[in-house]
Symmetry: D2
Subunit: 345 residues, 4 copies
């Protein structure tokens, strides 16, 4: 199964599968890499990036941060400039896809930039993998963490982690790296990859569920799954725009392919919108988890592509209409259907 996971991560690095929601892998990996005083550049454009910074400080790193608004993106140019000005940076941490705000960071350029300078890269790509191109080896990404419950369309409960040799070297030389612990990547490497056995009773259903999700994705094809997510974004964007909705993301080129976040007017609270959409139309929306007053139109995994976004658009549009906003829901549905018709023609 780590072989199949490696295929979606496009890597020949070791793959570790830990038994816990992806946050376990993110924490375990970061604790494994960070040594006291280590100079780390953390890119912050959303709440998950912000959280990485809290951890880094807890773990004793010398934290540098490039932070922008949560509706914006840290660009490769900003990173390059920063690294030029601060030559001692040992690791860059970034979130490839900030799920709550629906924005992405350009790892295709930041990854190689780090590799070329000998800087480790730590990539939170929980909702990025399969929702965007992700070339672990080609871009030289050292440590990537994802989960089955986003674009792969599986169930939560596992952390999927790729670790480069360079990252292992750092981890093994780190006396603070978790060992004999639920947080330990080393335990998994030695017991599972080494001896072929789990460090503790594995969750058979989680493992079988992951395998089924991987098989389905690989049968469809990694590139095809990514294309499907991009197609979903295109029709969702067209529909939302024609309906009269405003995007949360300030830059269109930073909009993710798995979530389209919609900015709400100040006088309409997202909690109110979510309650009404659920009770009246049976459609559940997510919020920004603190990123701002927004509603997420998710299109990930099995809901990426086809009519799922039409339903989301119609339900969100009609709910906002019910709440007094001026919108042309029909025009939005027409526009989205038009894009979908063109994609499938």
């Amino acid at each position: 199964m780590q072989e199949k996971t490696a295929q979606i991560l496009q890597t020949s690095n070791d793959v570790i599968i830990m038994q816990g929601e992806a946050i376990l892998g993110l924490e375990g990996a970061l604790r494994s890499l960070v040594t006291p005083g280590m100079r780390v550049l953390n890119l912050v454009q959303g709440i998950f990036g912000k959280g990485t910074g809290y951890w880094l400080r807890d773990f004793g790193a010398d934290v540098h941060e490039l932070e922008v608004g949560y509706d914006d993106a840290v660009t490769p140019e900003m990173v390059e400039e920063y690294l030029d000005a601060h030559p001692g940076i040992e690791m860059v941490c970034l979130v490839a896809s900030e799920t709550p705000s629906g924005t992405v960071t350009d790892i295709s350029r930041i990854g190689p930039m780090c590799r070329d300078r000998g800087i480790l890269s730590y990539v939170d790509t929980v909702s990025g993998v399969l929702g965007m191109t992700h070339l672990t080896d080609e871009w030289g990404l050292d440590l990537c963490v994802t989960g089955p419950q986003k674009c792969l369309g599986g169930a939560p409960g596992l952390s999927l982690i790729s670790v480069s040799q360079r990252a292992w070297d750092k981890i093994y030389s780190n006396p603070a790296a978790p060992r004999d612990s639920y947080l330990s990547l080393i335990d998994f490497k030695e017991k599972w990859l080494g001896e072929g056995r789990f460090p503790y009773t594995p969750s058979v259903s989680d493992i079988n569920g992951l395998e089924a999700a991987l098989d389905q994705a690989l049968a469809e094809g990694v590139d095809e799954v990514i294309r499907r997510h991009i197609g979903a974004r295109e029709l969702t964007k067209a529909g939302a725009r024609a309906m009269g909705l405003e995007f949360w993301a300030k830059r269109e080129d930073s909009m993710s392919a798995c979530v389209t976040s919609i900015r709400l007017p100040d006088d309409i609270d997202n909690a109110h919108v979510r309650d009404l959409a659920r009770s009246r139309y049976g459609v559940m929306f997510s919020h920004g988890q603190g990123a701002g007053n927004l509603i997420r139109l998710s299109h990930m995994g099995p809901t990426a592509g086809g009519f799922h976004s039409i339903v989301g658009l119609a339900a969100l549009g009609r709910t906002l209409l019910d709440l007094g906003m001026k919108l042309d829901v029909g025009a939005g549905v027409d526009a989205a259907l038009g894009v979908l018709s063109g994609q499938r023609a």
Copy 2:
């Protein structure tokens, strides 16, 4: 389980559960009731009613028929007039809900009319029960056949039959009634209702599936399930009309609450529409099974109410647009959403 089935059939008559798609119950019941030369009035307003007539002739009945176009309905007045003019009729056969054409017959008036004249009634209500009011006992319906796979939202594979004492008397006095046969109602009455055992190995999964579907329907409430189907029809009608679609049914008061059939222009073949909707939008529509060039917007069982009809309307509308028809899909979706919003407010 027959008790729960009796609740949805609103009867204290015996309930027989045969192991085969509802067509088994329809055939077994009709063979049980018909004796050679028996004068039977068969009401025909669709392909299932037409089929009943073929069976009646096969079984040797003296068949009388009141037939109208498959987009029309046989009215209680027509039946009353016919019965007045033909005093020797012993049984009336009718289809409460013609699924392929989406039309209903008014059993609330025809049932009592039969009972008051001492005429047996045989009611095919496979898609009628839970999609329309059905008062077996109050309306004096002698033999009703339904199945789990329509408005009950279960799986096909069983025939649910209510049999009045008057019907049993007729069946027991009929030497041609199936006995020791897969078609036999008598076997089930004697072995199952009598001795508490199946005449052969029962399909445990079918029986458990039926029970689960019944439990769900009874928890929601029979009247509430019916109301939900009617609500689905109202929003589907509003959407279809606003979009510019034409109803198949000539009389609005004969439109069923579980299917809204849409009449297609002569130059657009329903097979073409179904293929395109499926391949391009992932939405499957049913056809008229010979009733005419129509597309069915189904809203039965779990798909009755809420967004299911919005999806159907949008997918059908956009498919017809793709095929060159002039329609305002957005206006249709807007209208349907407006009705839905009002229903849930």
Copy 3:
């Protein structure tokens, strides 16, 4: 799927899959073949064979019967002698495996005997297929009926039927053969094999369940599945004998490989044994369905082979001990384990 069914029936004849417990296929097939006055030889060695005779009389055949005790078997020699003495016989009906009494009929010799004389053969092999060698084509068997719920290890609810060209000729020339009926083989041949569609709404779960069971059996291999059943019989017999139990079958060569029936002493009622085994040990046994005072140790489908029979033997033995019978349960378990150990060594 009919291709896979044909593989387990070892035939290139048409395969019909009807939606109803195997009794549906048995009835439909017999009604299709029998014409009034047709001279039919029916072999009776158990309750299912007895029932075939009742049907034959109902359908108007001129019934000849060779009947033995339900713990005995009709031999090929008896059949040969009878056919020699009665040259006008047009069809032989037989039950390959009488499940309740656990006995078999030698179709490997009776089948060719019929073919060579131009006599049709009708074979009820519901529990025979995969529990014994069954070569439809090689032995010239005209009409065979089986089901998924016995040695195939699937769920009840379907009838699997093979029909030779000679049988079809007879059926098509028979005006009484069911047509436009749930009992009709002709409907299935014309609509399903001919037009690729079911005559009515199919039970998707039954069909998928059948396919899964067929895939499993074919992956294991037809011969291997049969060998597994024979192995189960051998260890069950050894255990039962060593324990001090008596076989129901008078001839060891007529004992089936899917059921070992145990004869109970007159003073111990099988209903009592079954109740006690279920309540005290959680093990359910079947009875003889009228064949006699016996208990069936079933070993069919997934329960054929391995420890299932050890459990059955221990539970039956201990229950009989509880009821006062003198038995050496431990010796029986030891003997069965010894056979199993040898089989797997």
Copy 4:
């Protein structure tokens, strides 16, 4: 759900449900309680107790240990004597049920002893709860960790933890207690118990699975489940003894009710036994995970009681016979059946 978990833990303390195999809860809880230099008495009678000691040293505790052979038990008397002699002990750590060796520690006496002296107690009872009486509140147990996959009969993947107010006080005053971490009990207390939301995406299937297992256990009754496990031990012991097997545990009163560990002769390797039992008889046994050359006859959750142990005994006995050991398997099965018969009479 924490209410239902509290019922099986027999407590009104807070219950925390963490998303990871029970080892997560054990680690998180211990890290939460231990402060550098804290004087902790660790009871070691098996590999899990041994592991607790490694953790304690890692976390900086001043570790005292009472250790006996892994086939023996630390008695309340030994603990009392030690505590009398070492008045500064702040916490006692113990494993209520050592699964690999099948032995228990008497928490019914050690728990109150700690409470009465104002000493914290940390109890690993992963396989203890429901397999033995466990009165969290009555015995004053401060922190207990269990999981759904042992005597509760659920799936692995969750840690169920009860925390007394005294334990919370210690945790909140501990600067090293995990916070904002996958290992954190505090996060769960504040976010889940406090705000009613998970700290991260929960595994819906794990949570629903736990609830189903709890419902089943509570419907059967906590005392009844425990009685069932004890009954399983009694029949397993009787069978093993009569067969000629030797128990691993030196003291009969320390044998757990969920596992009967069998000591193997030196010349028969447990790995060999397990391989042969699996390949030849389809029965999987567990080993001692380092505790010694033993085979575990498990009887926990749904496999506690009834025929499961008979199967285990017969399979283990015959396997050992195949490997040349002298045993009377039949006598063992007879004895176990005799006990079972008596229990159910």
